[in-house]
C-alpha cells in the first residue's frame, strides 16, 4: 500500500485540511520530539516546543517550496524554535564554550557501572557531548541527514558540517578514554 507523500499532505494542510495535519504530525512528531529533547533535556519543554513546531508547519505549509525533504524542513523549524526557547530562558546555547561549561565529568555510580559495558558507556558519553556536538551526531546518525541537509538545517557550510562531525566524534572518543575505553582513535 502506498502512503500519501509528505509533500501532498503539506498541500492539503495549506488548504486547511486538519486530517492531513494529523497524519503529518503522527508521521514526524516522535523524531522531532527526540531531536528537541536531546537539546533541551526537559520533556515538558520538548513537548511544548513540538506543538509550536507543528503550528508553524500548519501556518507555513503553503510556503514550503520542496527544496528539501519535509522531515528536513520540520527539523529546521524545530531547531529554530529550540534555539529561540533556550535564548529566551537564558539557558544553554548551542556553542561549545557554554555547553562545555555545563558538562559534568563527575564519575557518578552510573558511569562507574557503565564502564563495564562499552555500549552503555558510549550512550552515557553521547549525553555528555556539548549541545552542538549532540545535535550533529543525532542529525547524521539518527535522523539520517546528508551533509547537504545538515548544512541546511544547522545553517553552516558543508565543509563545516564535516569538520564539526569530526570533532564531535573526536570528543566522544576522548570522553570514552576518560572512562577507560581507548578506541585507538583519533
Amino acid at each position: 500500500m502506498q502512503t500519501t507523500s509528505d509533500e501532498v499532505l503539506l498541500e492539503r494542510i495549506a488548504n486547511g485540511d486538519r486530517l492531513a495535519m494529523q497524519v503529518l504530525f503522527t508521521r514526524h512528531h516522535v523524531r522531532a520530539y527526540r531531536f528537541v529533547l536531546r537539546l533541551v533535556r526537559n520533556e515538558a519543554t520538548a513537548e511544548d516546543l513540538i506543538s509550536e513546531v507543528f503550528i508553524d508547519v500548519w501556518r507555513q505549509a503553503g510556503k514550503f517550496e520542496g527544496r528539501s525533504a519535509v522531515s528536513t524542513w520540520i527539523l529546521s523549524i524545530a531547531r529554530f524554535k529550540t534555539l529561540s526557547a533556550l535564548r529566551r530562558r537564558g539557558e544553554e546555547e548551542l556553542d561549545d564554550e557554554t555547553a562545555g561549561a555545563i558538562e559534568d565529568h563527575a564519575d557518578d555510580p552510573e558511569i562507574t557501572l557503565a564502564k563495564k559495558d562499552k555500549s552503555a558507556a558510549m550512550r552515557q558519553c553521547l549525553t555528555k557531548l556539548s549541545a552542538e556536538h549532540r545535535e550533529i551526531i543525532d542529525l547524521v546518525y539518527y535522523h539520517e541527514k546528508s551533509v547537504e541537509e545538515v548544512a541546511g538545517i544547522v545553517g553552516i557550510p558543508e565543509a563545516t558540517v564535516k569538520t564539526r562531525m569530526f570533532y564531535a566524534r573526536k570528543k566522544l572518543s576522548e570522553l570514552l578514554k576518560e572512562q577507560g575505553i581507548d578506541r585507538g582513535w583519533p
Binding site: 502506498q2 501532498v8 486547511g16 511544548d48 506543538s51 551526531i137 539520517e144
Partner: protein, 227 residues
C-alpha cells in the same frame, strides 16, 4: 584546523574518513559511496575506524529510541492552537490538483498498468466503431441510409458533424476524446453524425462558441447546431 586533522590522519584519508559517518548512515551519493567502499577495501586501518563509526551510529540510534515519545498532550495542544487559528478557504484549483496527484499516487504500479491498458482498449474500440461506420458508408457507394438515431438520447446539447474525408479514425477518436464529445447517432444522409457536445443544455452563446472552435479543427468538414 585541517592541518591538525591531516597530521593525525594523513591527507587523502582525511577526506574519505570524513565521509564514514554518512556512509554508515547510507546518506552518501553513489559517487562518494563508491569512493569510500574502494578505500575501505584497500585500507584495513580505515576499515577498523569504520567499525568505530558503526558502533557510534548503533548507540546513537539506541539512545534516541529510548527517549520515548511525547504524551498526547502535545497533539492536543497543537490542535487547540489550530482551532484558534482563523479558518482557511481552500483554493479550488490547488485542491483539484492535489486530489488528482493523490489519486494516481495511491494506485499501485500494477493497477496503473491495468488502467492504462483499459483506457487504450476503450480508445481502440471507439476507433473501431468509427472506422466500421466509415467503411460501411463507403461500401454503400453513393447510396446512404438514414440510420435510426441510437444511444445517448435525452438531455444535452447536440450538433451535426461531417468529418473531413481525409482524416483517420484515430484522429476522429482523438478529436472526440479531447473535446469530451460523444457520437449519439448517424451517419445520416450526407455522412452526418449526431454528436453530443455537452451533457446539459448549453446557452446559445456557448453553443456558438463551441461550434466555431470545432470548425477550426481539421477533423471537422462540416458542423451545425441542432435543435
Amino acid at each position: 584546523m585541517n592541518a591538525v586533522r591531516n597530521a593525525a590522519n594523513g591527507g587523502e584519508r582525511s577526506d574519505i574518513e570524513d565521509l564514514l559517518p554518512w556512509h554508515a548512515a547510507g546518506t552518501l551519493d553513489a559517487r562518494d559511496m563508491q569512493r569510500v567502499e574502494a578505500a575501505l577495501a584497500r585500507d584495513p586501518e580505515l576499515a577498523r575506524r569504520y567499525e568505530l563509526v558503526r558502533e557510534e551510529l548503533a548507540e546513537t540510534a539506541h539512545l534516541n529510541e529510548t527517549l520515548g515519545a511525547p504524551s498526547p498532550r502535545a497533539m492536543a495542544a497543537l490542535f487547540a492552537k489550530i482551532d484558534a487559528e482563523p479558518a482557511r478557504r481552500p483554493s479550488g484549483s490547488t485542491d483539484l490538483g492535489v486530489r488528482i496527484r493523490e489519486f494516481f499516487a495511491a494506485l499501485s504500479p500494477r493497477t496503473l498498468a491495468w488502467s492504462a491498458s483499459a483506457a487504450a482498449l476503450a480508445i481502440v474500440l471507439q476507433g473501431a466503431l468509427i472506422a466500421g461506420l466509415v467503411i460501411k458508408e463507403k461500401r454503400a457507394g453513393g447510396y446512404e441510409t438514414a440510420s435510426a438515431p441510437t444511444t445517448l438520447a435525452g438531455v444535452g446539447t447536440y450538433v451535426f458533424i461531417r468529418f473531413a474525408p481525409e482524416v483517420s479514425a484515430a484522429e476522429i477518436t482523438r478529436f472526440l476524446a479531447t473535446n469530451k464529445f460523444s457520437i449519439a447517432g448517424g451517419p445520416s444522409a450526407g455522412g452526418l453524425y449526431r454528436v453530443r457536445i455537452a451533457t446539459a443544455k448549453l446557452a446559445k452563446p456557448d453553443l456558438d462558441r463551441i461550434v466555431k472552435a470545432s470548425q477550426q479543427d481539421k477533423v471537422v468538414g462540416f458542423i451545425a447546431a441542432t435543435e
